[in-house]
Structure formats: structure tokens, C-alpha cells
Amino acid sequence: MGTSLMTAVGASDWRMLAARAAARLRAIAQHVSWYVSAMMGDDAYRKYREHHESQHRDDDSAEPMLTEKQFWRDQTDRQDTNPQGRCC
């Protein structure tokens, strides 16, 4: 199969195959990096912001949204009074 394929397809086809493989690899890499980053909690602020915006879309009296820096400080400071167990 290898040799017949080599002769049957031209250089442009190879380039297309390579591009397709690269795109596939990129998609996998993106998925892995999405998972790792979500697992570690990188997206916590984005989720908070989205939640806050959706809750107070047309409500000016709501408590102001925390800035990114404030949010991350608040996140670990809340853990001080609300510790999470880690099992054996």
C-alpha cells in the first residue's frame, strides 16, 4: 500500500494530508490544554465574570464586579475560613 500510495498521490496531496494531520494534532493539543487549564482552575475568574454579568445584565444597583486581582485574592482568602478536605 505504501509504494502505490507514494506514486499515486502528488506533492500537493501530501501537503494536504500533512495539513490535515497538523490540524488534527492541534485540535487534540487544544483539547488537552483546555482540560489541564480547567482542571487547575485557570478559568475561575472568567466563569465568575460571566456569572456576574448574566445576573446583573440590567441592574445597576448590584454589588460591583470584582476585578481580576481582587477575585483571585478573595478566592484564596475564602478558603482560609472554609477549608477543603483532602483525602488520604
Binding site: 482540560y35 482542571m39 466563569k47 456569572h51 485574592r73 475564602r78 478558603q79 478536605g85 483532602r86 483525602c87
Partner: protein, 760 residues
């Protein structure tokens, strides 16, 4: 107290919540879902037939075929196939008949959404979170110690136990807590069992946490004592974590993955550097620490770590530990599949029946079932499954993959630890795991002791011990009890065949020691903090000032009490003339299993109050088993007349020897040592009595609540009232056809019409 509504949970469940007509469906139609489940296509039948056949064949290879050796791959196949069958059929049975999750109901993550503590989280991500929170050093240590009974008892218990007990407990607790807005196990116990049962459950939980933290710390001390390399690299985790904490606080907030990768690189550098430093004369002298000073160091560390702000030490080390956990466990699985080590250990060893094993004393029943707790049935998980996870679940039906599936994953870690421990030479295994009181701590002593055990096929030579020690970069491997060093030798042995060859063995050994220490230190910190808050909360009932958790003095005082409690047990273990791990580890397992019994008892009361007596056995069977195992193990520890098993029998033997004026007895060579044994066995015995009494009270309260529910034909519940969900997400890892169809409707919805909610 929860809102005690008497909503019938069986019949009106569907009518309880009304769907928003302007939105696409928030759940797959139960009829379509049922039809999908029942649609056994030829391909599906073929796949499940293949899984069953492979699983059956693997069990035959493990349990019936008796050759010279057995290949490790059969452990992997037996485990994975059994898990798949248990997950597909048993957990689905529980879902369908007992729990009946309803995706039309909003979860706490939806109806209490605040974007912070309550936030709907992608099921795959939450699975990872939950797994990282439940799996630590426990499943890595217990199976190693149980390997002395042969490979088969531990394997059966880990695999069958998780399917019928451990995963059931995790799933039920997660589900019930989710239905109660994420209430904790302690609160649920109070709601379901009343004041006496609830109070006993609270005290038991606190005492059990103390013992678990103490014994985990003992494992670390045993792994690091007299190991300059280990002491250096593990102590480097503290400055690394501090650096990470400051980086996240002041330089780049929120870049968690980024700093975790930096931290990981530094960690590897610390391991490599540890080898170089331990090789120098000053390094070997400076980082050579005896067990007692090391234990005191860990106690001081535990106190400081628990009062420092979370961002500085705990949070960054937790990131590092999560990062290592996922990576290392994946790597070990791949390595075991590539290397497929041969295992020469007998299926059931001499010690299983005789009960005189040097690693942990006692016969197979009940001591196998308490030696392996984590990985088969772990009560501690109930605290996690009723903590953070239920507040993050997106849809009710996802609790199956997260609760049941997460625990199956931990069980697989335990199987891999067992394989790693079994793959090393049996003579070396016993030399490492018999206490110094037996081996004398010397090569000659260890060789004489192990060969004197009369094990078939074991012929230990001094060269084997010195060569292994040299390979892993340690001065000695004799009597490195606690399981962690043995696992590390096994892991190094397997990993070096894939990466790096024998020259890398020392690196892999210390890599394994490092990640076990990292898991344990995180558990010690977090455990101390959680216990401190529980204590403050309880003391607050008598002295209201303690309820104020930001009161510095109160926080320090309660932290000091908790640290002193586990510190005392730790010091007792370290200085124990009888060896420490072999006398204390059963207490760890008993404590953990008693907590499981308490959690299952609470679940049983809930199921009874829901009026589901037909399916009560799903909870009653594991509860009965855990109760019989732990109560009989406790009774043996309290009443047995065999000194190596019974705490009080040992106490009596040593007291009588002292009274007779003897200056040495058994493995205690001085009067002080004998007095220490008398003191230790008394404390251990009293702790056993305390645990078993509290557990019996809780179980009795649950049985009472169950009986009362049966008599009154109860169908009440302490669940939060049902609120209609306004979102959709698939239940399992992969979406089914019906789920994809619903998802497509949601994707087609214009953004402006989407309901206001958090998550994505």
C-alpha cells in the same frame, strides 16, 4: 436544619418541576433514554461480551491457574473489565431504582450559583477535581502492606469491594448531599439521626481525622528518616510552594497552570539536586535526620502550615500535588502496561491464615479489609463527597460518573500500587516492611530474620539488600516500613525499564517518595484545618466566642489542640519499641472503615425515609459488611489474648514482665522501652474502644431511624425543594445520540434567549 418537606419522591417527581416552555428541553426524555439503554445493537452486545470474556479470563488467570508466576497485565484487565461492568450495570441499577436523579431539577450549582463556591462545572473537569480530592497516599500504602497475605485477597477486595461498597458509598453521599444544597456529612447525620446519632457522628469524625492525619504523617516520617536525599528534596517543596504562592498573589494572579509547570520543573530540580547534595559529606550529615526529630519537625510544620494564610502555602502546594497526581498515575499505568512485570508472590500466603505476618499482625478476616481501606471502601471520601463536589455538579445524572466513576479510578490506583509492591523480590519486601525490632536494622539481621520466616522460594542474600539500597540512592533499605518506600522501589523498578534504565532508579525512587510526601503533607495541612473548624464549631456550642472563626487566639488554640492530638499519636508511633506501623496501621484502617460505616448508616436512614425499602439492601449490604469487619477487628484489638493482635493483651504481658522485675521483654530491650509499650498499648486500646463505641451508637441510631421509617411508612425527606433547571448537559463522559440532539437545540438558541445562568 433542612427544609423538612414531605414531597413524595417516587411518583410526583416528574410533575414537581415545570419546564420553561420557551427553552429547549433541559433533560433527555426519560422514555428516549430508556429506549437507548435497552437498544442492544449487535455491536454493543459484541463489545460487552468481549469485556466480560476478557474479565472472566483474567480472573481465571489470577485465581485458578497456578503457575510459577502470574503476569501483571491480568491484574489490569481483571480490574478494568470488572469496573466497566460494575459501572455500566450496577451503578445504572442504583441510578434507576434507588436514586432516580432528575435532570429537570436544578442542582445547587444552578439554583445557588454565585460564580464562586457554587458554580456549574464541566463534568469531565469536575471528575478530575473530585478524583484529585479523594485519591492521595492511602490507596498507595494500604495495598503494599496487604501484599504480605499474597496477591489474591487484596486484589479481590480492592476490585469487588469498590464495585459493591466503596463506589456505592461515594455515589450515594454525593447524590444525597447534592439534593441538600451541598450539606456536609455531619449536618446530614444530625438531620437524619437526631441529636445523639449526630453528635456521636461528629465526635467520631473528629477523632478519626486525628488518627488518619497522624498515621499518614507516620508514613512520611518512616519514608524520610535517615534519608538525606528524601529530606532535602521534600523540604524543598516548602520554598517552592512559597514562591508559587507569592507569584500567584503578587505577579500573575490566576495563572495557575503556568506556575504549576514552573513549580513542577523546580520540583524535578530539587529531586535531582537532592542526589547531588546527599552525595556530599556535609549534605549527607546535615540532611540525615533521625525519626524523632523529624516527627517533631513535621508537627511544628503542621501547626505553622495550618495557621498561615491559604494562599501562601496550602493552595500552591495543592496545585502542585494535583498536577503531579494526574501525571504520575497516568505514567505508572502506561509503564505497567508496557513492562507487564511477572509476579512471583503466591496467591494466598502463609500469613493470611496464620495471622502472624511481620508487616501487619492478624488473620485475613478481618484484617485484610482494614489494612486496605482506601481503594476499596474509604469513609474519608464521604467528607469530600459532601463538601465541594456537590456544589459544583451541573446536572443530577452526572453524579454517577463523578461519584461512582471517581472511586473506580481510585481503586485502579490501588491495584497499580499492589502490582508495584508485588513486582519486587519477596525477600526484599519483607526486609523493608518488617520493623527494626525484628530485623535489628542491619543487613545481617534482616537476612537472618527474613530467611528464618521459612517462606517458600525466598532466599535473601546480603548483596540483594545492599545492591537495592545502592540502586535507589539510599544508605539502607532495611525496615523502611509504612509502605511508601516499598512502593517507591517497585515503581522505580518498573519505571526504569521504560525510561532511563537502571541508572535512573535512584531518581524514580525519590520521585515516588516525593509525590507520596506531597500528597500526605497536603492531606495533613488540610486535615488539620478542617478538624480545627469542626472543633471550633463544636466548642462554639459551649463558648460562643469560638464560633467566630476570625478570632485569632481561638483559631490558634484550636489548631494547637488538633496538632497536639495527632502529634502525640505520631510521636507514639515513631518511638514505639514494637515498630509503629505494624501496631498503628490497623487503627488507621479501622478508623477509615468506621467512618464509612457512619456514612453508609446515614445513607441507609435517608433511603428508608424515602420509603424505598425494596432497594435498602444496596446500602445495607456494604453497611453490614463494614460494620462486621470494623467491629470484629476492633473487638480483636481490644479483647484478643494474642499479644501481637490485642492491645490490652500486649499491655498485660509487658506490665507483668515489668512487675516481675524483668529488664527486657520481647522486642523491648530496656525498662523504658517496656514502659513505652505499656503506655502505647493502653492509648491504642482506649482509642479502639472510643471508635467502636461511637460507631455502634451511630449505626444503632440509623437502624432505629430505618425501623421508625418502616413502621410509619415514611416518605418524607430533608431535601431542598425542587427548582426547575434551565440548563442542559450530558450525563456521562461521551454524549449519547439523544443528548447530542438536545444539545443541538441549545446550540441553535440565539444568545439573547439563553437563560441567565453561570457556567458555560
Amino acid at each position: 436544619m433542612g427544609i423538612a418537606s414531605s414531597v413524595p419522591s417516587e411518583t410526583a417527581d416528574d410533575g414537581m418541576v415545570t419546564r420553561d416552555p420557551s427553552l429547549p428541553p433541559v433533560a433527555v426524555d426519560p422514555h428516549i433514554q430508556e429506549a437507548e439503554d435497552r437498544n442492544w445493537t449487535p455491536a454493543k452486545i459484541a463489545i460487552w461480551a468481549a469485556i466480560s470474556l476478557l474479565g472472566g479470563l483474567s480472573w481465571v488467570m489470577l485465581a485458578i491457574v497456578r503457575g510459577e508466576s502470574v503476569n501483571a497485565i491480568w491484574f489490569v484487565f481483571a480490574a478494568v473489565c470488572t469496573y466497566l461492568i460494575g459501572y455500566r450495570f450496577y451503578s445504572k441499577y442504583i441510578e434507576k431504582h434507588l436514586l432516580k436523579p432528575n435532570d429537570r431539577r436544578a442542582t445547587p450549582a444552578e439554583y445557588k450559583a454565585d460564580g464562586k463556591d457554587y458554580a456549574a462545572t464541566d463534568r469531565r473537569v469536575l471528575f478530575g477535581h473530585h478524583f484529585a480530592a479523594i485519591a492521595g497516599a492511602g490507596p498507595l500504602v494500604g495495598p503494599v502492606l496487604a501484599a504480605q497475605m499474597g496477591y489474591l485477597p487484596g486484589t479481590i477486595w480492592i476490585i469487588v469491594g469498590v464495585v459493591l461498597a466503596g463506589a456505592v458509598q461515594d455515589y450515594l453521599v454525593l447524590f444525597f448531599s447534592m439534593r441538600r444544597g451541598g450539606r456536609s456529612l455531619g449536618q446530614m447525620a444530625r438531620d437524619e439521626l437526631g441529636v445523639i446519632g449526630g453528635t456521636a457522628a461528629l465526635i467520631a469524625t473528629l477523632a478519626i481525622m486525628v488518627i488518619i492525619v497522624a498515621i499518614l504523617a507516620l508514613v512520611v516520617v518512616n519514608a524520610l528518616a535517615e534519608s538525606p536525599w528524601g529530606v532535602f528534596s521534600v523540604s524543598m517543596t516548602i520554598p517552592i510552594a512559597l514562591f508559587m504562592g507569592c507569584y500567584l498573589r503578587f505577579f500573575r494572579p490566576g495563572k495557575i497552570t503556568e506556575i504549576s509547570i514552573i513549580g513542577f520543573v523546580l520540583l524535578i530540580a530539587a529531586i535531582v539536586g537532592g542526589g547531588a547534595i546527599a552525595g556530599t559529606e556535609w549534605g549527607a550529615a546535615f540532611f540525615h535526620v533521625e525519626p524523632l526529630p523529624l516527627a517533631i519537625g513535621i508537627i511544628i510544620y503542621g501547626f505553622v502550615a495550618a495557621i498561615l494564610p491559604v494562599w501562601l502555602l496550602l493552595a500552591p502546594r495543592d496545585y502542585l500535588s494535583t498536577f503531579m497526581k494526574i501525571g504520575t498515575i497516568g505514567m505508572l499505568a502506561v509503564a505497567i502496561i508496557i513492562v507487564r512485570p511477572e509476579i512471583f508472590v503466591p496467591a494466598v500466603s502463609e500469613f493470611a491464615v496464620a495471622g502472624n505476618g511481620p508487616v501487619v499482625a492478624g488473620t485475613l478476616f478481618p484484617f485484610l479489609f482494614v489494612t486496605i481501606a482506601c481503594g476499596a471502601l474509604s469513609g474519608f471520601h464521604a467528607l469530600i463527597a459532601s463538601g465541594t463536589t456537590p456544589k459544583l455538579v451541573e446536572k443530577e445524572r452526572q453524579t454517577r460518573v463523578i461519584g461512582y466513576g471517581g472511586m473506580l479510578m481510585e481503586s485502579f490506583v490501588a491495584i497499580m500500587a499492589l502490582v508495584a509492591a508485588l513486582s519486587i523480590d519477596r525477600g526484599i519486601y519483607f526486609a523493608m516492611n518488617s520493623s527494626a525490632a525484628m530485623t535489628g536494622g542491619t543487613v545481617e539481621g534482616a537476612v537472618a530474620f527474613v530467611n528464618g520466616l521459612g517462606l517458600t522460594g525466598v532466599n535473601l542474600t546480603p548483596e540483594m539488600l545492599t545492591q537495592t539500597a545502592k540502586d535507589v540512592g539510599e544508605a539502607s533499605i532495611i525496615s523502611r516500613t509504612g509502605g511508601a518506600p516499598t512502593l517507591s522501589v517497585g515503581l522505580a523498578h518498573i519505571m526504569q525499564q521504560v525510561f532511563g534504565g537502571s541508572g535512573m532508579m535512584a531518581f524514580w525512587y525519590h520521585f515516588a517518595i516525593m509525590f507520596e510526601a506531597l500528597f500526605i503533607l497536603t492531606a495533613v495541612d488540610a486535615g488539620t484545618r478542617v478538624a480545627r473548624f469542626m472543633l471550633q464549631d463544636s466548642l462554639g456550642n459551649f463558648f460562643p466566642k469560638f464560633k467566630n472563626t476570625s478570632w485569632r487566639l481561638g483559631a490558634w488554640l484550636t489548631t494547637a489542640i488538633m496538632v497536639a492530638a495527632w502529634g502525640a499519636v505520631l510521636v507514639m508511633g515513631v518511638t514505639d519499641p514494637l515498630g509503629g506501623i505494624n501496631t498503628l496501621f490497623p487503627l488507621f484502617g479501622i478508623a477509615n472503615q468506621l467512618l464509612a460505616a457512619i456514612a453508609l448508616a446515614v445513607c441507609m436512614a435517608i433511603v428508608a425515609k424515602r420509603g424505598q425499602f425494596k432497594y435498602l439492601w444496596i446500602v445495607a449490604v456494604p453497611l453490614g459488611f463494614a460494620a462486621v469487619v470494623t467491629i470484629s477487628a476492633s473487638f480483636l484489638k481490644i479483647f484478643s489474648s494474642v499479644p501481637s493482635v490485642g492491645y490490652f493483651a500486649n499491655n498485660r504481658a509487658f506490665s507483668e514482665a515489668l512487675a516481675a522485675g524483668e529488664t527486657s521483654f520481647g522486642t523491648a530491650t530496656s525498662v523504658e522501652a517496656m514502659e513505652a509499650v505499656v503506655r502505647n498499648t493502653m492509648i491504642q486500646g482506649i482509642l479502639s474502644i472510643l471508635f467502636v463505641t461511637l460507631a455502634i451508637i451511630v449505626i444503632a441510631a440509623a437502624v432505629h431511624a430505618t425501623w421508625k421509617a418502616f413502621r410509619t411508612r415514611s416518605n418524607s425527606t430533608n431535601e431542598d425543594p425542587a427548582i426547575a433547571s434551565q440548563m442542559f448537559a450530558p450525563a456521562g463522559f461521551a454524549s449519547t445520540k439523544a443528548e447530542k440532539a438536545v444539545q443541538a437545540q441549545w446550540d441553535a438558541l440565539p444568545p439573547a434567549d439563553k437563560p441567565r445562568r453561570s457556567g458555560h
